[in-house]
């Protein structure tokens, strides 16, 4: 009755793998491709390398439903000594930093390893070389779930004659290629939209995709940043105090927060009625709780800086939407940086109208988080909620409408609903920014639709008068003997004067 036990972290995640998106063979295969592609992009574009990613899926044993997934990138590689931990220890990662990555939980690779050993009991094979490394390291790794530590089955070093750098990973898992095919294709295509500087080559059992590099211009890579003071919490503050025991309040504030220099720190202390020179180690727990509250309330901080973020940019979004959706018109907006819980974020949104977008009862939604397309769980995503609650009728949109909405949230930490990373949670600050981004984009759409409507009205008016010209000219000519041609010509000129432009001008505009 009173039986308690501690479970190793790796075992806990193995048992609860749905949390990370490994629900079933179809979804697990999709998730595996996603994790590998996102690691590849993080290892390249973050460091200014034009990404080249090669992904191959092969059938290992059709009867048993075993497939292999191979992914190779030209990124910065993993140092030889770190490879076992990076793949074989849950909660070990390079991604626990204040900087925008595609990956964030640092869980992806470990979940793939756990899933592979649960289903096929095959190790994962890794080959990697860091920049300018003389050696290439190769490992076969599994995870000892009891101790949450890597089990290295095989290890080898090769000379790196051609100074190759990057990472190649191969796994054998139970996967349903047939059921996952469509999603994987869609995922890769949508990824290519926001990363046109990447080259992605994919080979599947019956599908090949080559998504070529469309530009060599890359957005500036994100820098590492500090948390913004506006949204700090007591626990975070306690930890900082522990690490900066001897610092004064002024030093703590000026050294550890985004956009806070000595000036700003002093102004805050004055506003908060705190002694700037007090040692933080002498503050009581309650003082710290209050300090966190005052920091959240203070309106004098600078906006969080965007240096650690890398939005796609309005121009890129508009190009992508026009190309992929075949839209008639696209209007994109990149909002200024904001923050929640100490994490800066930027929301970008685009609304696309008409063309090949099929009219529907609600907007078609394309969601991105840190340039990752989100394909599942749309129903619980905050963007779906905002797009559905949005007052489209105020922007001349009447459903069914050929309307698509693209929402891109980038942040040093995306608040996913689950570790499956398919939906963004309902954070008030983010919800507000999405709403404002949609509003800004929708305003442009409204202006566009209004102009189109005005033109359509003029055309309508022109037609509804011009169609009677011949009939009237003919009848009046018969009654009065006047020239039918001259009457018709005059009637046309009267109509043009009425609508304020000639038929040719109208034809050019609408």
């Amino acid at each position: 009755m009173y039986h308690y036990e501690a479970l190793p972290a790796a075992e806990w995640f193995r048992r609860n793998r749905e949390l990370a998106g490994f629900h079933n063979p179809a979804r697990a295969l999709y998730q595996t491709v996603r994790e590998l592609v996102e690691n590849a992009l993080d290892a390249t574009e973050t460091y200014g390398i034009l990404p080249t990613v090669y992904v191959r899926i092969g059938v290992v044993d059709e009867q048993r439903g075993w497939v292999s997934v191979y992914a190779e990138d030209n990124g910065i590689g993993i140092p030889g000594g770190e490879i076992p931990n990076v793949l074989g220890r849950v909660f070990y990662s390079s991604k626990y930093r204040v900087r925008q990555h595609r990956g964030i939980f640092g869980l992806g690779l470990k979940m793939i390893v756990l899933y592979a050993q649960s289903t096929t009991n095959r190790p994962v094979y890794v080959r990697s070389a860091t920049l300018k490394s003389d050696k290439i390291y190769e490992y076969a790794i599994m995870i000892d779930t009891n101790s949450n530590s890597p089990a290295v089955l095989h290890r080898q070093e090769y000379p790196n004659k051609y100074k190759w750098h990057g990472t190649a990973i191969k796994v054998c898992i139970e996967g349903n290629w047939h059921a996952a095919k469509r999603r994987i294709e869609e995922y890769l295509r949508r990824t290519a939209i926001v990363a046109p500087y990447a080259e992605i080559i994919f080979r599947g059992p019956d599908v090949s995709l080559r998504l070529g590099r469309r530009t060599t211009k890359m957005p500036p890579p994100p820098e590492e940043g500090l948390p913004h003071p506006k949204t700090v919490d007591a626990d975070m503050l306690k930890q900082m105090v522990r690490e900066n025991g001897s610092a004064t309040l002024l030093e703590l504030l000026a050294g550890n927060f985004d956009g806070v220099g000595r000036e700003t720190a002093r102004a805050f202390a004055a506003w908060a009625g705190l002694a700037p020179d007090a040692r933080v180690s002498e503050l009581s727990q309650d003082d710290l709780v209050r300090l966190a509250e005052r920091m959240r309330q203070y309106e004098g901080w600078r906006r969080p800086r965007a240096v650690s973020l890398s939005p796609a940019g309005a121009e890129l979004l508009e190009l992508g939407a026009r190309a992929i959706l075949g839209a008639e018109a696209v209007f994109a907006v990149t909002r200024k940086p904001e923050s929640y819980g100490g994490h800066p974020f930027i929301v970008e949104a685009a609304v696309a109208w008409g063309g090949q977008i099929p009219p529907a009862e609600r907007p078609l939604l394309l969601r991105y988080a840190n340039k990752i397309p989100l394909l599942y769980d749309e129903g619980v995503d905050v963007a779906r909620k905002v797009a559905d609650e949005f007052s489209w009728q105020n922007y001349r949109v009447r459903f069914p409408a050929p309307l698509a909405v693209i929402v891109h949230v980038c942040s040093t930490k995306i608040p996913y609903v689950s570790a499956g990373k398919e939906a963004i949670a309902d954070i008030p600050e983010i919800e507000r920014e999405i709403r404002l981004a949609l509003r800004d984009a929708a305003k442009k759409l409204r202006a566009y639709l209004a102009r189109r409507e005005r033109e359509a009205e003029l055309v309508e008016k022109y037609v509804s008068l011009a169609k009677y010209v011949d009939e009237i000219a003919h009848s009046l000519a018969v009654v009065t003997g006047a020239s039918r041609a001259r009457l018709a010509e005059s009637l046309h000129r009267l109509i043009e004067r009425k609508i304020g432009m000639t038929a040719e001008e109208l034809l050019r505009r609408a």
Binding site: V463, S464, K467, E471, L494
Partner: protein, 366 residues
């Protein structure tokens, strides 16, 4: 007015329109408004007349362009008929003018639209032209279907033939299009009985009610046409005969009575020729349901349309008599109507007694 004069007026009107078009001024037609608001109740003459309001039908107004086109088209059709010396009916004109306008716009789309869909549309522009050039349809040589039938002690002459409407047995005399071309030779009647419904007319003829009463019986089968109204008016005016109108006990029947008596909104410009201000109402009223003890079996619930029409009647100046106000309000309260046939409650012959009762005892509404 002869047809040559009518043609001159039509051509003159057309020339004004053509002139303003060629001078690039917006073409507009000035037409007296045939609307309720422009229908004036002439209390002294006790009939409806057309008021002074005029509408400007402008081609460049999208809402009026179609009517403008229709009016010009009809102008041509009538002018052509006069020039060719033919006498079309309004149905002929509807038919001659109906065709599909096919228009290809500069954007390459094709629009097609019929010049008019229903005869109502072409009839309306004929009436517009009548008031605009101040010439009657009959003067233009344009006629309409004729619905009127007559029986009783009246002798008429048409194209030289004398016809004695008392000698038709169970048949009846059908009125011609142009009643003014008839000569009324002799009338030996004591009154004129106008009956709304043909079935009642047939019964009264078969039962020789007219001969027992010395009455001229006329029906136009529902809403009367111009010819029937003109004939009733001539009997009243030229032979000083009292005219009684027998209709169903519902707002539609009451309105039919008022058309015989005072004219209609749509044709108020013709009241002077067509109205019979002395006509008296002996149809069923709302209070007759009690007065003549009509059984519930024969009483019908009024429709929304009936109620709406009754509310309109209440607002018409020519229904502003206390008797009408009382009856219509009673109708609106009970929402019940009755047809003439309801008098069969008391046997099929009761209709005769009813008519005599209403006339002899002065139980009519004037």
């Amino acid at each position: 007015m002869d047809r040559a004069e009518v043609l001159r007026r039509l051509e003159e009107w057309g020339a004004r329109l053509a002139k303003s078009i060629l001078e690039l001024e917006e073409p507009a037609m000035e037409i007296p408004a045939r609307t309720l608001s422009n229908t004036v109740w002439d209390e002294r003459a006790r009939m409806l007349r057309l008021g002074p309001e005029r509408i400007r039908r402008r081609f460049l107004d999208v809402k009026e362009a179609r009517k403008f086109m229709q009016t010009v088209l009809m102008l041509r059709l009538i002018a052509e008929a006069i020039r060719e010396g033919v006498y079309p009916t309004i149905r002929d004109l509807y038919y001659n003018g109906k065709h599909t306008i096919i228009y290809r716009d500069p954007w390459g789309r094709t629009h097609s639209e019929n010049t008019w869909e229903e005869q109502d549309e072409s009839n309306a522009v004929i009436e517009d032209i009548e008031v605009a050039v101040n010439a009657l349809r009959e003067e233009m040589g344009v006629s309409a279907d004729v619905k009127g039938k007559v029986v009783g002690p009246v002798v008429i002459r048409s194209q030289g033939y004398e016809l004695d409407a008392s000698k038709f047995g169970e048949t009846a005399l059908s009125l011609p299009v142009n009643v003014d071309a008839l000569e009324i030779v002799k009338v030996e009647a004591s009154y004129v009985l106008v009956v709304e419904k043909d079935a009642i007319f047939q019964r009264l003829v078969r039962e020789r009610f007219w001969s027992q009463e010395g009455a001229v019986i006329i029906t136009a089968k529902g809403m009367p046409d111009r010819a029937t109204r003109r004939f009733v008016r001539r009997l009243s005016e030229e032979f000083k005969l009292p005219v009684y109108v027998l209709t169903d006990g519902d707002p539609y029947g009451w309105y039919i009575y008022s058309v015989y008596k005072s004219g209609s909104i749509k044709l108020s410009y013709e009241s002077e020729r067509l109205a019979t201000p002395g006509a008296k109402f002996i149809g069923l009223t709302a209070s007759d349901i009690d007065e003549y003890k009509i059984s519930d079996n024969y009483v019908i619930a009024a429709t929304e349309r009936d109620v709406k029409r009754a509310r309109e009647l209440l607002r018409y100046p020519w229904f502003q008599r206390p008797e009408w106000a009382r009856e219509i309000n009673l109708f609106l309260k009970r929402r019940k109507k009755v047809e003439i046939e309801a008098l069969s409650t008391h046997g099929l012959k009761f209709l005769h007694d009813y008519i005599r009762d209403k006339i002899r005892r002065g139980k009519f509404i004037d």
